[in-house]
Symmetry: C2
Subunit: 340 residues, 2 copies
DNA sequence: TCCTGGCACTCGACTGTAGCGAGTGCCAGT
DNA sequence: ACTGGCACTCGCTACAGTCGAGTGCCAGGA
């Protein structure tokens, strides 16, 4: 239970060395590389305690020690200071994000930037519709019985859906419906729209009601209920970088998990007031990712949060550096969104 | 040079066995599993010839034979019949694609379907803008100096771009411009628009010209010139399936290549009149993919082609089955698009 | 009480040797 | 032109031996 300062220092040293070298670290190497001021034998005693407490373990009897998930957890909670970004990194961020013209563009650039800076897999969620409000709704006739509904959100997101009309519809009717939905819905948060949409149907004149009902059901079902979240992913090649030593030999489960949008959303989408979220190995709810760690946070203009972003890598990752990078990128993106 | 029928049969047997077992195949095993009607010794002589001609090779001196890229090439060109799809596969295709509501939806379902059926990496290009024509253009005011341009193509693709206005603009002006661009551009192929767009600017009244110029430059630059192609990808987890025996040990180069949209476009985007394209190992122009094979084809409503789709896998793949699946899926998708 | 040097021990990694077996190339015979 | 036989090659596996990094423990000293 009692972990004195030196034992903590030993744990920190083990984590740092292991992250750097990727090899089990022994007592001799430890005292050589760090100024611990004690002999290897002493370190060994400390290690024995740390192992008993579950912070480190031995791959085999006569090998060095390796941090456990619990060890990493202690490390990030109490032993690491957030590393300030290097000027080069700051410049890279600015260079990358300046010149983005489009929301799509911003998201794409961000995800590639994150992957490149952290050398890991990066995930960026598009601004969540549930957290957006309506800026404009457009109805475009495609044929006599088909409309295209285009929704532009204040976050810059644009979504389009086909709406099948129950009966042929006139240009005037379209104009009218366009005016109505815009009057009622522009400015409202998407999560608050359902009653308003219902009211639109109820108030429509009887001959327009079927058309309005079709429109509203598309609005409700596809935009509000299963609020279509979108996700961008980059850097999967980084998984294969450090050989197969991490991820216990097989990339398959990881790649499988990354193909499921639902999983990705779970990873970075559950945005909480907390600023930064680190899930280490077993702490991940998804089985396939029990050999990986995820660092994620929310982003948005000002202090509001409209979506999540983060990176995924081996449990053996540079937590301080990764956390710093993720935080910095999230801030830059937030600022960028605020400019609109 | 002279490859008589039996030698070809031997090559076919080698390819089939190697694809099935993933192990070098020897002369004894070959006569046992296939009815060749000759002795192992005879087969050995044939193998020696095939090896001399570069169709097969020995991993090491006393191992069985493995097909070379050239051997696979001969196999697909002259030795394989396209395998008819199983009813189960046909059903899977229908089940998967029925119920797609959206172009996005169609593309997503298609790429997942392809990945699942072939158990390889699937790539689907969105209908190319260059091959689309304009169905409708919409201008939506975002602020006094910003418009959003939404273009709907006949293929169902929807693209939006922000347009910065050089000066504040009135609602009437927007209405006017919307009418003008629609009058002139609807129905034209995107590749033919540049002169028409230029004409729009020239013919605009002097006070409207700056605004029209801004609009037209966005149209030309982002939609026509660098005709934004979009790509969907699925099944990367399949790369890690058969261990690391394929792809000579490292997935990294493959994953890297798959992250580059440009590369993906090269893979499946160069649509030719030819119906089906198979590139085997070295035949790939991209270095990172010299250990992989790509099977691709074009798709579109009726006999026109609007985009490409295909799969990527190890050179050791089931070519007849893969080709059949890719072709069938492409046809289904084409039919689906034709219904709009 | 805590730290240290010393020592015996463990065990993985590496090396070298030997036997096995799948597979080949070649050749003489039919 | 095909076949059976035979010597040969060479990767794979098992086994034994050595090396060395690393540990746990203990007795002695601050």
């Amino acid at each position: 239970m009692g972990l004195d300062d030196r034992k903590l220092a030993v744990l920190r040293a083990i984590v740092e060395d292991y992250v750097a070298t990727q090899e089990p670290v022994g007592s001799r190497a430890l005292v050589e590389r760090h100024q611990l001021g004690v002999s290897p034998a002493t370190v060994r005693n400390d290690m024995a305690v740390l192992e008993e407490e579950g912070y480190i373990r031995q791959p085999h009897t006569s090998a060095g020690r390796v941090p456990t998930d619990r060890g990493y957890r202690l490390f990030v909670d109490r032993l690491s200071k957030v590393k300030p970004l290097s000027p080069a990194e700051r410049r890279a961020i600015e260079r990358f994000l300046v010149g983005a013209v489009d929301l799509d563009d911003v998201v794409h650039r961000t995800v590639r930037l994150l992957a490149q800076l952290t050398r890991q897999v990066a995930v960026v969620q598009y601004p969540s519709l549930a957290r957006s409000s309506v800026r404009h709704l457009e109805l475009v006739p495609i044929s006599t019985t088909r409309l295209m509904l285009v929704m532009i959100a204040d976050t810059g997101r644009v979504e389009q859906r086909l709406v099948e009309m129950p009966a042929p519809i006139l240009a005037d009717d379209v104009t009218d419906m366009r005016r109505l939905v815009n009057e009622k819905l522009v400015g409202t948060r998407l999560s608050e729209t359902p009653p308003l949409v219902q009211a639109l149907v109820d108030e429509a004149s009887p001959d327009r009601r079927p058309a309005m009902a079709a429109l509203s059901s598309v609005l409700l079902e596809t935009l509000v209920e299963r609020h279509e979240e979108r996700i961008a992913l980059a850097g999967t090649a980084n998984l294969a970088r450090s050989g197969l030593l991490d991820f216990q030999g097989s990339l398959r489960p990881i790649l499988e998990a990354l193909e499921e949008e639902v999983v990705l959303l779970k990873l970075i989408g559950e945005v909480e007031p907390s600023t930064m979220r680190v899930r280490i190995g077993d702490e991940n709810e998804i089985d396939n990712l029990r050999a990986a760690s995820v660092v994620s946070t929310g982003y948005g203009p000002g202090s509001t949060i409209v979506g999540g972003l983060g990176v995924l890598g081996p449990t053996r990752m540079d937590y301080p550096g990764t956390i710093a990078t993720v935080r910095a990128v999230a801030r830059y993106v937030g600022d960028l969104l605020a400019q609109n």
